[in-house]
């Protein structure tokens, strides 16, 4: 969309006249392409974004509407709508009266990170605190205005009534500052997303916020505010931004990254340096560039900065053609990849002393996540033991639309227009580092975009590429990654190999659980203490994570580091149930005495699916197509880095539990698994918007099916070979399961995250259903046809 059209849709941000203090001037500063001086120095003094000021978070407008400012980007989960609901509830205004300002680092305060599905919980606590504080201030003003004690006032739709008189919020403060400080409970931690107990704002019902039992809006289903614009094609996505004089750019690099094991730069926090490296050929040095190879494309121009090669052209298709036709010779990769066949061997080459996680200094391999009792003696005491090795694959984020960004590196300041990731302002930092300017001089304006389900996929790389190109050519440059860029140079979710041993006594009680994982971890988290048996009461339990040498940069992907733990643990639990002849659900109930939230989701999903108790695989058939049903637990461990002795559900920070029952169909000949129906229950505490949580349950059930059955990053001995939807298949419409979402509302509990949990629960649910259908264990994901056929063939061989 061209600039003028953007302007009409754009936001305006309050700007205060110098010295005046109280007058708000609406100023349409966000017109993309306004003269740089207008952007950099608006008339008067821009609002200081102060963490403890109500004015940083919301404005009451003269027309009795409210504008909310938060740093949580809408990424398809309805989070922005939930935040509006929270503010509207506290202020007693209608949803029609409140809207969100555009996310812009020059005008938007920090309201927490959106990672770990904490956008609504952490962001909500900021918004609740600001709105509740504003409400108190408004009641005070209304009391003075109406001459009625605040306690005798009521508010509906922003109209305050008392003593037979009324006054609107707009009349009270429209055009004025609150100048009110929000009481700060605790200091924000820099990694606020992981500090669930240190939410800086107000929890639901915490004074002066509204008592939960008085909620009219929060807790009831609300439509998302952005959906009408999405379905009419009027919502401006990041990919629609166009600036005057803008060029189109593309990055030129080998198709698919090579190993970054012996990379030439040091990796920085969340990868500002490896971003540059991935943009500049990954592990491969450029040997020569033949600029004459694109001379026939009018206006196309090559940009080289060190090992970085890119092209720009006034016309987008010309830029794409030029990037494709430019002849570049690359050196061989500096170190080889193992090839898919040798992945397990590469991961088992874990090295003691390797750091577990790049951004957080501290633990090194091997990581002792938890240890309770003595595993060996627990196994010795067991009546029956089971053991197995489980394998998961590298996964990619794969947004439907590849990342895109416009960068305008100008003398007056640098602006980037893109879809920000969960880490607010991080792209601005990366851009600043890449082009050598102070981070504070980069303004980052964020638009909705294609969801990418995690942190640091290529959300930072694209604006960095655009900024490097813009700086080189002195004009705004737009980069839209090609499909192969986004897949071939993503930071992948780490593959894992897991060895598990467990034992059960004659009374059906689990005596021991031993879990040893191998994985490269980098910016992802160590194994979850909850998904590795922490749901159960197990007297002897040990969980260890070994850190393998880096092959790729990894980054969290929706439910990071939960898939391997849940896939392995919940299958082993099922095996224990089977060996004791028990119903898998009843076996779990017996081993999780007192674990109320997890029992609640187990029972809810069992009821919804009409679970018939009994031992698994009791109805095996010789037919080619067989059906089965399986159960799995899972969560996303927000306390991801949590480690220590004696970690189980009695000591762990509460997280959102998920329970899944999957109904599947297996074609033994072809090896194809079809997931027919998924029943999934979550209990995320107080649910702000149940309809949107149900959407997340449906979405994660479909995505989890895709990952569990067919998704896998492939690579040969030099480069990644997953470059499109053929080489990296994703579940298609025809194969999607029907989903029954169950959302348990707990008005008396703190709100928790809810964008990830069913994924990890679904992995073992499908595998357990496979066992129910075939009597054979499948211990590798993706459970693609070749893996299924292999598992069935091996089982036949063992039988003979």
């Amino acid at each position: 969309m061209k600039t003028d059209a953007i302007l009409e849709k754009e936001f305006s941000r309050k700007v205060f006249l110098k010295g005046g203090g109280a007058l708000i001037v609406s100023f349409g500063l966000a017109r993309a392409g306004l003269p740089a001086d207008a952007l950099a120095a608006p008339p008067g003094k821009a609002l200081p974004i102060s963490a403890d000021q109500v004015d940083s978070y919301l404005t009451i407008n003269a027309d009795n509407t409210v504008t909310l400012y938060s740093s949580i980007m809408e990424r398809g989960q309805g989070t922005r709508t939930s935040l509006l609901m929270i503010a509207a509830e506290e202020l007693d205004v209608a949803m029609e009266q409140i809207s969100h300002a555009h996310l812009d680092t020059s005008t938007t305060p920090f309201t927490g990170l959106a990672g770990g599905s904490q956008g609504t919980t952490i962001g909500g606590s900021f918004v609740r605190a600001a709105a509740a504080t504003a409400k108190q201030s408004l009641l005070g003003l209304a009391s003075a205005s109406l001459g009625v004690p605040a306690a005798n006032l009521t508010v509906d739709k922003g109209v305050v009534s008392g003593g037979g008189k009324t006054v609107t919020y707009g009349e009270l403060v429209g055009g004025k500052l609150f100048n009110v400080t929000i009481p700060q409970k605790v200091q924000r931690n820099d990694l606020g997303v992981f500090q669930r107990l240190l939410r800086p704002g107000l929890e639901p019902g915490e004074p002066p916020s509204k008592p939960v039992e008085q909620y009219k809006l929060v807790g009831k289903p609300q439509p998302r505010v952005d959906v009408p614009d999405i379905v009419t094609g009027t919502l401006i996505y990041s990919g629609d931004v166009r600036l005057p004089g803008m060029l189109h750019g593309r990055v030129v690099r080998p198709r698919g990254q090579s190993s970054l094991l012996h990379s030439h730069t040091t990796f920085g926090p969340y990868g500002t340096n490896y971003t540059l490296e991935l943009l500049a050929g990954g592990g491969q040095k450029v040997r020569s560039v033949d600029e004459s190879s694109i001379r026939h494309i009018a206006g196309a121009r090559v940009v080289r900065v060190g090992n970085f090669v890119g092209v720009v052209a006034p016309n987008e298709w010309d830029a794409i053609q030029a990037a494709g036709e430019l002849k570049v010779r690359w050196d061989e990769p500096s170190s080889p990849l193992p090839g898919n066949g040798k992945l397990e061997q590469a991961l088992r080459a874990a090295e003691p002393g390797l750091p577990a996680s790049t951004p957080i200094p501290g633990p090194v391999s091997p990581l002792l996540i938890t240890e309770m009792g003595d595993v060996e003696s627990g196994l010795a005491k067991a009546a029956k033991t089971v053991s197995a090795t489980f394998r998961t694959a590298y996964l990619l984020h794969g947004p439907t639309g590849p990342h895109n960004a416009v960068a305008d590196v100008a003398p007056g300041g640098t602006t980037i227009y893109h879809q920000c990731g969960p880490n607010y302002g991080l792209a601005a930092q990366g851009v600043a580092q890449a082009i050598g300017i102070p981070p504070a001089s980069v303004r980052e304006i964020s638009y909705q975009g294609s969801s990418f389900y995690g942190g640091h996929s290529t959300d930072q790389d694209c604006p960095t590429a655009a900024a490097v190109l813009s700086k080189a050519v002195g004009k705004p440059v737009r980069v839209h990654f090609m499909r192969w860029d986004d897949m071939g140079y993503d930071n992948y979710d780490a593959a894992e190999v897991v060895d598990v041993r467990a034992g059960v006594d004659a009374h059906g009680k689990i005596t021991a659980f031993d879990y040893v994982a191998y994985s490269q971890r980098d910016s992802a988290q160590p194994p979850s203490a909850i998904n590795t048996g922490g749901v159960y009461l197990i007297p002897n339990r040990k969980v260890v994570g070994n850190v393998a040498p880096r092959m790729f940069m990894t980054a969290p992907l929706r439910s990071p580091m939960d898939r391997g733990p849940a896939f392995s643990t919940e299958q082993i639990i099922d095996e224990l149930a089977y060996t004791t002849g028990s119903d898998p659900l009843e076996f779990r109930r017996q081993n999780m005495t007192g674990n109320a939230p997890w029992l609640a989701v187990l029972n809810a999903v069992a009821t919804a699916a009409n679970w018939k108790p009994g031992r698994a695989a009791r109805k095996l058939s010789h037919a080619n197509i067989v059906t089965g049903r399986g159960f799995g637990f899972g969560t996303h461990a927000y306390g991801g880095g949590l480690q220590g002795p004696n970690l189980d559900f009695r000591t762990l920070d509460p997280t959102t539990p998920a329970a899944v029952i999957a109904d599947i169909e297996v074609n033994k000949k072809t090896g194809k698994i079809r997931v027919k129906h998924v029943y999934a229950a979550v209990a995320p505490g107080l649910v702000i918007n149940p309809a949107r949580v149900a959407d997340q349950v449906i979405g994660t059930a479909v995505m989890g099916t895709s990952q569990a059955l067919i998704e896998e990053v492939t690579f040969d001995k030099s480069n990644v070979t997953s470059l499109d939807w053929v080489t990296y298949p994703s579940l298609r419409f025809k194969d999607h399961p029907n989903v029954t979402p169950i959302v348990i509302q707990q008005l008396d509990a703190l709100p928790g995250g809810c964008g990830e949990e069913p994924i990890s629960a679904l992995f073992p649910a499908i595998a357990n259903a496979f066992f129910d259908a075939t009597g054979v264990r499948i211990r590798q994901v993706p459970m693609k046809p070749a893996v299924v056929r292999d598992a069935l063939a091996r089982a036949r061989k063992e039988k003979r």
Partner: protein, 170 residues
Amino acid sequence: MATRLNIRVNGLVHRVPANRETPLLYVLRNELDLIGPRFGCGLAQCGACSVLLDGKEIRSCVTPVAAVSGRSITTLEGLPALWASKHGRASSAAPALHPLQQAWIDVGVPQCGYCQSGMLIQAADLLSTNKNPTEDEIRAAMNGHLCRCGTYPKILTAIKQAAAVMAKKT
């Protein structure tokens, strides 16, 4: 070699500068400011770029603009007028929404929404030839369209809902 071509989009004829081989997608987005169709893969694998060509869904990311000259293109933005024209109403009297768009809102289909333009286009194609598709027919017709957020189940519901509404109006 850039030239000028006449293309008919959403009922209007536009004279656009374009290389004949340029995929239609870039002309729609960069010359005509139509942002419904989106770039997803450039390989006709995902359907984010879908538009109707004489009422049938095509992938604009791999369709040369010269190939559509003289034929009628409908993008997401043109669906309400298309629906109106099917019912003998002038496009100026078009309803704000095609029944499919209304169903998408009522069911609350989109998550990130990036694929939904293509989904709506494909669904419009389906319902133009099959007034009352079964679940299997919907699954088959929509199979070429990728949604990474996992909205397939809600799309299924919305198409059934729109089909019921449209059946009443014809």
